[in-house]
């Protein structure tokens, strides 16, 4: 008997089954769309808020290449922003005109194409971004006003940095270290920045202790306990930004 040709029937069957699998609606699969992730003194932060802040980079700091800012990072930053702005009551720390200029500057930073795609993704209008931007701008203003005074760095602190951090770092990179006096001003500005950040952190901790904060990240494990999810999102974001 001649051998039956099973190749083409098999191929047709494969195509039929794959069509069934990929195009049949996945009924019964329930996913979390949105929800309250945290409450800060009766002010809520939702999952969508976090996704918007992360997507548009409203964290108040520039996104470094290769660094993954997962949702936990974003949430922590958003909580700090709310504390700094709301608990100090400094919601009118800058005037309307100045705020308008700062808002426009932030919006101008965003790539137009990227902006269009992301706005569509979240079904937002450009005005809807203002509440997030205003919080970021106010936070930066509050921090700047409170911690703008001159921070002094003494020679001892520079020496400690030079010997404890600069020299080992240079050794690790197999680079020849520069003399301390030559990089004095560089070290001074690093130490000043670190001191300022430390003061800010202490102040934010003080506010956190006084505030009523509830966090429900355990209710959203797929978003907050999995770094993989965040990596995928960040990678997708990077592609969108080109």
């Amino acid at each position: 008997m001649p051998k039956k040709n099973t190749f083409y029937p098999g191929l047709i069957l494969f195509m039929f089954l794959s069509t069934l699998i990929f195009f049949t609606p996945a009924k019964g699969e329930v996913k979390i769309v949105d929800g309250i992730v945290a409450v800060v003194n009766d002010d809520i932060i939702t999952l969508t808020d976090i996704r918007i802040v992360q997507a548009f980079n409203f964290l108040g700091r520039e996104m470094d290449r290769g660094v993954v800012y997962d949702y936990n990072d974003v949430l922590e930053s958003m909580i700090k922003q709310k504390l700094a702005v709301r608990m100090t009551g400094e919601t009118d720390i800058i005037g309307a005109a100045e705020l308008g200029i700062a808002l426009q500057r932030e919006l101008d930073k965003l790539n137009k194409e990227f902006l269009k795609i992301e706005l569509e993704r979240f079904d937002l209008k450009i005005d809807d971004l203002k509440e997030y931007l205003i919080e970021k701008i106010l936070y930066q203003s509050v921090i700047s006003r409170r911690f703008s005074r001159e921070i002094f760095v003494n020679l001892k602190e520079i020496e400690v940095y030079y010997e404890g951090r600069y020299l080992p770092a240079q050794k690790e990179k197999n680079q020849k270290p520069q003399p301390m006096m030559k990089i004095l001003s560089e070290i001074e500005s690093i130490v000043k920045e670190e001191k300022a950040e430390k003061q800010i952190e202490e102040w934010l901790k003080y506010l956190t202790d006084k505030a009523d904060i509830q966090v429900f990240t355990d209710k959203y494990p797929e978003y907050f306990n999995s770094l993989d999810y965040a990596r995928v999102e960040v990678a997708a974001d990077a592609r969108r930004r080109g």
Binding site: L11, M15, S18, F22, F23, P25, A26, K27, G28, E29, V30, K31, I32, V33, D34, G35, I36, V39, I44, T46, T48, D49, R51, R121, F122, D123, L124, D128, D212, I213, Q214, F216, K219, A236
Partner: protein
Amino acid sequence: MLKFTNVFKRKNRNRIIFWGVVMLYVLFLGSTVLYSQENIAPKLINSVSIMIDHQAGGEEIEDLITIRPGDLFSLKKINNSIKQIYKTGLFSEIKVLKAGGNRLDLTFLLSSRFFVRKIFFQGSDGVPGRKLREGLFSLTEGGSFSESKLKKAVEEIQEALRISGYFNALVKVNRDKIPDSNQIDVFFEIRSSGRYEVEGVDFEGKLIFSPQKLKNSMATRVGKVFRPKVLEKDIQKLKELYIAEDFQRVDIKIKRQDFHEKKKSVFLVLEVLPNEKIEISITGAEVPLALIKPIWEARIFEEWGLEEGESKIIEYLREKRYLFASVDSSIKREDNKIQIIYKVSPGRKCRIEGISFRGVSYFTVEQLEEALSLEKNILFLSKISGSRLFEIPDEIKFLYRTNGFPETDVVLNFERRGTKVKPIFFVEEGKQLNIKILLVEGAVLFSKASLLKQIDSIEGGPFYSPSIQKDVERLEKFYLNEGVRGSEVKAEVQAEDDNLYSVEFQIKEGQKVKIENIIITGNSNTRINTIQRELMIKAGDFAHYNRIRETERRLENLGIFTEVNVEEIILAEGKENLLIRVREGEKNYVGLGVGLETKNEPRSFDIWNNIVRPRGTAEYIRSNIFGTAARVSLVGQLSLKEKRAVFSWEQPYFFGIPIQTFLNAWLEQEERKSYSFARRGISLSGIKHLSDKEDMVLLTTLRLAQTKLFDLKIAEAGVDRQHFPFSATSISGSFIWDKRSDPFNPGGGFFFSSVLEWAYPLFNAESDFLKSYSKYQHYFLVWHQVLFSVTSRIGLGGGRMPIHERFFAGGSNSFRGAEFDDLGPKDPTSLEPVGGKALILFNFELTFPLLHQFKDLSGAVFYDKGSVFSKRNQVSLAGLQDALGLGLRYRTPMGPVRLELGWNLDAPKETNSLFFFITIGNIF
């Protein structure tokens, strides 16, 4: 060959086509997989459901969800819905799930917010629950509950225990959910490790006082329990000791606290830093040191301190009419001492005679005096104080500035004749700035004419920058009140000329916003229509801001909510929801009291002629009956000789009309010396406030009352008129207008009331009369604390008026030249007063301060004129009696205590003409 080639070519072509289709299919499949990973394909909403605590429900909040079946899937709408639902305050957790492929089923999962019903403390070892509650902020009865608050609550309790001396207390917390409710009871279990006894107190530093003296001033002592809160108060007491010795800048702090666990004791060391002694001396005039001392308590710039002291001394002396006082000050330093010396030259005490103005042309003198509230002198009494005189130049300058004169200068000078001085204000008005052109630009929704009506500025009128700013606010408020949101108003000012300005109000109009839905939450007992009838706005209306605020005020005035919050939640352009959140208050109130009862009305009793008895009172009030904001109360009063029960029903509406309605029913029984009586009655009253400030009231009452006597030991005619047997049904209308500055201790203003009562013989009642009674009082402040008051009363009646419905006068609250009720006609046999059908009464009184040290004590002179007439046609001015008198007043929060001596100028000979009264309350 050709055939073979053709077949071969056909076979190849088919094969190519076939594989081409497969490749396309694979590419299509692949791109679909990639697409579904990277993008959310637009999907439609199939259904939206709400689950509250795992159960279907939530109809009352459906309107807050802005995404509906048939809509495209939108994260923004879902996010907004979550935020709106959270604002209701009813839910602590909200999550949204989706299921389905192209048609999505959305489920809103909500967890109810819990509230704390009661907080219990167990094992608190003698620390009163009240003190622990005072230290607890994160959890309160009636407040919201969440697990995250428990840790902080425990810390707060531990701190409250620590300051009461319970160090290292162990605090555990438990919660108990009340079934079928969203309430939780919280239990704090306290296990303390006991307290520490004070083993000793020692001081370090430069003490000035002996250690023993310091220790004697403290409540924290050897052998006593150590309480940090008490030690804090002790440190304050010690500081006061030092301040009294001129060590204003003393610093005292706890240097060490040595705890001994085994002995359960603590040794305390306090550090005392007295710093420099500050001696203040004021020579040349009697000025209290207490005026200057507080200036030097803190470390200040000395130049400023001296100037401030000089200024305070001069102001003090000017108030005493030493208008030309001057002060020189200096500082001397020695070792650890600072001496501050003020040398005062007070000059002569002056009498201020009138005030005059020179150089005034824009205002008339009368206009200036009115604007500055300057009243003319009365006889020799100046109505203006010395210190105010020196403030007037600045007030005049301000007045001119607000009228467009930026450069006005005012100099105060005096014409002196001995001790008499006449202040003269020399005014240099300067140029006036005016508005040449006034424009309103950018308005489309409203006409310019209607906008110009909202502002004070006018073309040709004075220009004053802050007034322009106020106009900006007025316009913004106008837009809000018209339901427009997002409007911005700016004022652009340009100088046209030296004195002329153009003002342009640039309006960037927002959008008129309509109320889509009104959502009411938090009312578990109150009926929805009880709330709805207070709404000044409804769904579909524009969002008039004033009406929204008025709604909030009306709900607060119901008196059944502890909190009312009306919030606007933007849905989309031109649409918003109004969220009304209420928190219901306690419904039950129980009161018990013991007091003294007199036979007269509250706020005024004549204790020389009354019966005083101890009495017990029990009261129960239940609010918000049937959720209608109605209130029922039951009051019972009991003493050895009387029993009384009063039932009241109060509601804010009368068959849907906003009239506060009271239904009262009472039963009372009293044993008197020579008779007993029982009375019962029922009345229905309605009160309507005629003005927003609630100082104008209309009151209508329907009354039915019956009195019976028993155990009579005297003739009926000898019975007190108010207990006379009679039945009456009547209807009365009252109008009250009260514009007094204070109803108990008025310092100005007036009071007017008028009552018309018609008694008709219904239900076998014996009453049949018409009676009217009007009273007017006016209070004039003639000088500092010198008050002149006038009271006039007219009462007229006709028909069959029983004795207790007639008019009576006499006594401390009506005519002070006669005993209580003794003015007017008498029974010829018993000589008891019988009252009359007409009353005319006038009271004139002047009260004045007596001693500067006793600000609440004042003297009074009075003149009363009046009488009671049997019939209306007997009224004549010649028939009025006169009484003169003197009095002392002592001011209390409930009104003045009055001691008065009245002399009846028309008393018949051989009868008493002098009358002495002690009363509390003003004459009324």
